[in-house]
Symmetry: C2
Subunit: 136 residues, 2 copies
Amino acid sequence: MLRRRGYRLTTQRRAVLDVIARSRDHLTPGEIHQQVVRRHPGVGLVSVYRTLALLADMGLICEVHVGGNCRSYLLRRPLGHHHHLVCSDCGRVVDFSDCDLGQLEKRLAEDTGYEIEGHLLEFAGRCPDCRAATFT
Amino acid sequence: MLRRRGYRLTTQRRAVLDVIARSRDHLTPGEIHQQVVRRHPGVGLVSVYRTLALLADMGLICEVHVGGNCRSYLLRRPLGHHHHLVCSDCGRVVDFSDCDLGQLEKRLAEDTGYEIEGHLLEFAGRCPDCRAATFT
DNA sequence: CCAGTTAATGAAAATTAGTTTCATTTGCAG
DNA sequence: CTGCAAATGAAACTAATTTTCATTAACTGG
Ligand SMILES: [Mn+2]
Ligand SMILES: [Mn+2]
Ligand SMILES: [Zn+2]
Ligand SMILES: [Zn+2]
């Protein structure tokens, strides 16, 4: 796949991909680097970052948004359970409450054996203002 | 609300909350600090961080998970559009593909005027293994 | 209102994460 | 093979976040 897009197939890229493919967990760049170095000492953390950017860009790896790593906050307007629709251009946020995921949640719980505790749902899009601005 | 939970109502906490409440955007700790300092010079960035942690903990503010700030990756197993169910204990990830949000997406688009481009959906829960481990 | 207690703060250092630069290496097309 | 551009690693650099600790100030009880 890398080749097909004109990227070179280097040992470091192989190694990073190998670690990610082997693991069932999600790993941070640091963790990936640690594992890479075991077999390939000398591989730099920089290359791990570069490879991850590349792979994410190509859609070969997924990001997981667990926990409070993401730092961007706003007031909780409706105080209860709700979700966000965020403008990908200006960042404006609209809240909404009806997500109706109970059906899906129940099925997932049955299929996987997980005891589901909650969910994160966010839509991204372009707000009316930003859309208008484009056609000016 | 702070008082009710036994926390002191300090000027810095007021200030942070005030900035967040005023703004319609989501703000990073740094941005919040900048605005706080305008009216209250001398307030430390540290306090902003501490206050944010507190408020998030109490559920008074929302996090927004936009963009690639979160660094945790795993191989994209099903290559197409899909979502994650993450164990909140050990981090194990299950992929699933049927999210059926078209209905909601359409309604949101109509109600808000946003041109919706995509969504992020993640469930959190405890995997069978971790659940079993509890009852040992 | 006042003093005492103790949670909360700010300065500074320490840690951690991520990016940039640049000389050197290496994959790969020819 | 050879040559060259892409990719790498070391190191410096920037930015974000946490820890430590002496000082301050919010609240409690009188
Ligand atoms: Mn919200
Ligand atoms: Mn996935
Ligand atoms: Zn917008
Ligand atoms: Zn688990």
